[in-house]
């Protein structure tokens, strides 16, 4: 056997007292970790093949299996960590770029966890959302500079007020949470279906990603945001008009500056039809849009899309959070975008080079704060809605994002987790045991869209309830009143510089 330097990352513990050799684990593992020996009536497991997705552990009817992170693999070293060593071994073996999936898992500071939310005491009464009205509805789209009213009197002498200003197209969200762009191809049809159905039932939106729109999802037109990315997969007039809004994808938080590569194995007949590319061919998204090299070029695409959709749908631009995000955002507003999506560096992906995912981009909290401030300073904040993405993990992250200046948040990873994802980060292999990031018909069946939809609805429902509770606790009765209200936030364990960028006071500082 060849020399093997990298050791397995996981250890499979099988309790022989509990194992009944029912072989559920054998049947469920797409990585062929478990093997049944009929002579001995025993199941053997190969640690090397395990990716740590916990499917077998979850489905084992007797709880006989435990998947454990293998400890003390290498001699302890704070500089040369086991992940560094393992990656070097892998690259010395393969000579290639290391791929990964999902978001950055490195211990960079998570600013959400250093921000505390306010509550009302004595001088401003808190509100009980179960007994009093609480509005978390919000609108995404360009707002007019001012409102012109026509005031007239009718024949009975009653005053009539009519709005004269034409309001640009808006998306109405029943909760400030949407499902972020995940393409059909990177995720299964059943996963797309679950997202679409949940968004539609809850009154919010899901985003098709750059993979086109499967015709079986045309019915969700009022809750669909379609994406136009550098590969232009599946984009035609029909596609644009089967959506409530259009998003131009410039970048993705997990891999700023990098294009996409859907391997040919995932381009099944349905994916090829949806993407409008030949079956079995690699779907390559170029790193840049080859027709966008400036804000002026971007403006041309924005207006081309507005023309194609008859100026009836908001057209937005998604960028990843990079160092220069604030001036870029300003340019995007001036280019005519109705909303900007900022995707932080912890955002997920179906496949990205590890080195990019873990080292490129900036945290969404800082990007959001600086974009919101910049747009306010320039007096153009109202011209655009800001949607944040990139590891929104809980309702508290959503509410903090809104107080920092966001209009709404996109959740991608959280939605996948609700559908069963265990963050094993192997999306790029196409062997997702949970039936999410795969096109293998044996695996895609594992996600029943009825269950997926129900679980996503539950997630939206519970987060919305929590947002209402937190708003009520702070004495606010509408999410729109919280937007950009940074006085409701306090930093903890942050430096002066971090506080200055976030535009918040430190905990303990009063008004």
């Amino acid at each position: 056997m060849a020399l093997k330097l990298a050791q397995s990352e996981f250890e499979i513990e099988r309790d022989s007292q509990k194992c009944i050799s029912c072989q559920v684990c054998v049947r469920q593992c797409s990585n062929d970790v478990h093997e049944y020996d009929s002579d001995e009536d025993i199941i053997y497991s190969d640690n090397d093949k395990c990716v740590g997705c916990h499917r077998c552990e979850n489905l084992c009817p007797t709880g006989a299996i435990k998947i454990k992170e293998k400890e003390a693999e290498f001699k302890k070293n704070y500089n040369w960590t086991s992940s560094h060593l393992r990656n070097i071994y892998k690259q010395a073996d393969s000579g290639g770029i290391i791929l990964t999936g999902m978001g950055c898992d490195k211990p960079y500071p998570v600013y959400w966890d250093h921000i505390l939310f306010n509550a009302a005491q004595v001088t401003n009464p808190s509100i009980d959302p179960l007994r009093e009205p609480m509005e978390i509805k919000t609108f995404i789209g360009r707002k007019p500079d001012k409102l012109n009213m026509e005031i007239s009197k009718d024949k009975n002498g009653n005053t009539k007020i009519k709005l004269k200003t034409k309001i640009p197209p808006q998306l109405e969200l029943s909760t400030p949470i949407m499902f972020s762009a995940m393409s059909y191809g990177s995720i299964s049809f059943n996963a797309c279906m679950s997202l679409a159905a949940a968004a539609s039932k809850f009154g919010t939106f899901y985003n098709t990603g750059e993979g086109g729109l499967h015709e079986d999802l045309y019915g969700f037109v009022n809750n669909t945001i379609v994406q136009v990315a550098s590969g232009r997969f599946g984009v035609d007039k029909n596609y644009l008009n089967k959506a409530a809004a259009v998003e131009i994808k410039i970048g993705q938080g997990a891999k700023p500056g990098i294009g996409g590569h859907l391997p040919g194995e995932k381009v099944t007949r349905d994916v090829s039809r949806t993407r409008m590319i030949p079956k079995g061919t690699d779907a390559l998204s170029p790193a840049p849009h080859h027709d966008i090299y400036s804000i002026e070029d971007l403006s041309q695409l924005i207006y081309a899309l507005k023309e194609a959709t008859d100026y009836k749908k908001p057209v937005g631009v998604k960028i990843s959070a990079v160092h220069n995000v604030a001036p870029i955002a300003s340019g995007i507003v001036r280019a005519g975008a109705d909303f900007i999506t900022i995707d932080g560096f912890r955002g997920g992906t179906g496949a990205a080079p590890l080195v990019i995912r873990d080292n490129v981009g900036i945290p969404i909290e800082l990007a959001l704060a600086s974009v919101d401030r910049r747009l306010r300073e320039e007096g153009i904040r109202h011209k655009v809605s800001i949607i944040v993405a990139g590891s929104i993990r809980s309702s508290s992250d959503v509410i903090k994002a809104i107080a920092l200046g966001a209009d709404a948040a996109y959740i991608g990873t959280a939605a996948l987790v609700a559908m069963g994802c265990h963050l094993c980060q192997k999306c790029y292999t196409g062997k997702c045991n949970w039936g999410i990031a795969t096109q293998d018909p044996y695996l895609t069946k594992r996600l029943n869209p009825e269950i997926g939809t129900r679980r996503l609805l539950n997630l939206l429902h519970s987060w919305s309830l929590e947002i209402k509770e937190m708003l009520g606790g702070a004495g606010i009765n509408a999410i729109e009143s919280l937007r950009g209200s940074r006085e409701h936030l306090r930093g903890i364990d942050l430096s002066e510089k971090e506080l200055a960028i976030l535009g918040i006071k430190h905990a303990g500082e009063a008004w």
Binding site: S21, Q28, P61, T62, G435, P441, K445, R446, N448
Partner: protein
């Protein structure tokens, strides 16, 4: 007595598009029809002796779990020579009285779904789905991790999809 009562007929519907072939239905059926009713004990002590009454059929990635359909005009009842196979007029459930069964296997011969099995370990009796009459929901339905089996009151079934599944 816990379980289902009353004059209604509930049936198990198969959603083969969501069957993942894990065979947890078979495992839990075996436990349910074991002596101990405890999963580990049942498999350690009686594994060879308990026959699952639900069967997972598999070809490639297509699979589905099938058990007795409790046919309205059950041919097994007609074919039974000893009067062991009976259909309860109230609940519609077809059961085999194992005391009366003589093991002639005529029921197996006539069953259009092939869901009656010989239970040789327990004597020459025919083994088939009893719809877990003492449970609220049959264990195969309850333990299906992907809801590929559904237990639906036939009198309330108006969904086209479910009727289609039945006719399949």
């Amino acid at each position: 007595m816990p379980g289902r009562h009353g004059n209604y007929m509930k049936k198990i519907y198969i959603k083969e598009q969501y069957c993942i072939g894990c065979r947890l239905c078979e495992i839990h059926c075996q436990v349910k029809h074991s002596k101990s009713k405890k999963i580990i004990k049942a498999f350690k002590d009686e594994k060879e002796d308990i026959v699952s009454r639900v069967l997972v059929e598999e070809v490639g990635y297509n699979s589905f779990a099938i058990q007795c359909r409790h046919c309205s005009d059950a041919p097994c009842v007609e074919a039974c020579i000893s009067g062991a196979m009976v259909k309860n007029e109230n609940t519609g459930v077809v059961t085999c009285d194992e005391e009366k069964c003589v093991g002639c296997w005529m029921c197996i011969m006539v069953c259009p779904y092939g869901v009656i099995k010989r239970d040789l370990p327990r004597g020459r009796v025919a083994s088939k789905c009893d719809l877990c009459v003492d449970e609220d929901i049959p264990v195969c339905v309850k333990n299906c991790p992907n809801e590929a089996l559904k237990f639906i009151d036939t009198s309330e079934t108006d969904s086209k999809e479910e009727v289609e599944v039945e006719s399949n």
